[in-house]
């Protein structure tokens, strides 16, 4: 078992999924992230012990993906967020299956979504085939959206 999953984190991820699934708020948060960052795709994503699952979407139709292939798995191991201006120039991601195809991902920004007790569950994230350098105020607004999303998640988890 990975260190990432040592504290019952996968069970919390599944609880978060069950608490939020199907709520229109999820797509609304994804749309908001896309709007703030000026990108073509954004998702609300959960990452359990094997799989990343998009639970809210804007401009993205992809389904669940193996955890070891996705940017969000790197993101949830950061304190606050992961920003990759150009994945083709980043040795962590340049051989990634989402990056190497024609039209693959260049830009990624994801803010870590945590459970009330602090465990990382997933991200509010955005990605685009065009590389970009986000402005500080865009990242601040992404953080604000994440903070509000965490309040919503806590409400749904704890009533």
């Amino acid at each position: 078992m990975s260190e990432l999953d040592a504290d019952g984190r996968p069970e919390l991820v599944r609880a978060a999924h069950d608490a939020m699934a199907g709520d229109a708020a999820l797509d609304a948060f994804a749309e908001a992230v896309r709007s703030v960052m000026g990108t073509s795709m954004a998702i609300v994503s959960l990452v359990d012990d094997t799989t990343q699952t998009p639970i809210g979407r804007a401009g993205y139709d992809g389904g669940p993906a193996p955890r070891d292939t996705v940017f969000c798995t790197t993101a949830i191991q950061q304190a606050d967020m992961l920003v990759v201006p150009d994945a083709s120039q980043d040795e962590r991601f340049q051989k990634n299956p989402f990056v190497t195809p024609e039209g693959g991902i260049r830009f990624y920004a994801g803010a870590v979504v945590r459970a009330p007790e602090g465990q990382p569950l997933g991200t509010l994230c955005t990605f685009d085939p065009q590389g970009q350098e986000p402005a500080p105020d865009q990242l601040d607004r992404l953080r604000m959206l994440r903070d509000v999303f965490e309040m919503v998640l806590e409400k749904r988890l704890c009533g």
């Binding site: 908001a32 709007s35 607004r141 509000v148 919503v152």
Partner: protein
């Protein structure tokens, strides 16, 4: 009181301030997310970020209902912006200000209302972030506190966006 709404003393000044936020007729994905949060955090049926303009209120963000705005005289938020901080109505159908309001008597069936005033950087009221229930009943203080937190986030988003808008206008001006 049908057809009437309270007008703050500083309404003209307030409307000038509101215009600088460029929110009329605009639905905003960030504010939609805030409205969805208001709906969920307060166990409500509808969540709104509403801007009170001269004759209308615009729903810059909305969740749970498909209406872009209403005439100002139907706007509960136009009453809320006269408050210092928040307005809570437990049962609009029993409140003399709202009992014959079409939003209360009609399909939307508004009963419970909790709104927190959203202000401009100069402190003038622009509108509210509010949560609305179809069932009457009290809002817990904890709920109202959550709404205040959300209001603070909405203000921060609006102010940050206005700042980038102003920067853009200035840089365009420099190019001319």
């Amino acid at each position: 009181m049908t057809g009437a709404y309270p007008v703050p003393d500083d309404d003209e000044e307030r409307l000038v301030d509101l215009a600088t936020y460029a929110v009329a007729h605009v639905r905003d994905p960030e504010l939609d997310a805030m409205a969805a949060a208001a709906r969920i955090l307060l166990d409500a049926d509808y969540g709104l970020v509403s801007f009170v303009d001269r004759r209308e209120q615009w729903f810059g963000g909305r969740s749970g209902l498909a209406v872009d705005g209403t005439p100002r005289e139907q706007s509960m938020c136009s009453h809320a912006i006269l408050e210092d901080d928040t307005m809570v109505v437990e049962d609009a159908s029993k409140d003399v200000r709202f009992h014959d309001n079409p939003l209360v008597t009609g399909d939307l069936q508004i009963r419970g209302y909790a709104g927190a005033v959203v202000r401009s950087t100069s402190g003038l009221p622009l509108g509210t972030v509010c949560a609305i229930r179809r069932e009457p009943g009290p809002f817990e203080e904890e709920d109202v506190q959550r709404l205040r937190g959300l209001r603070d986030a909405v203000e921060a988003l609006l102010h940050a966006r206005r700042q980038s808008l102003l920067r853009l206008v200035e840089s365009e001006r420099d190019h001319v």
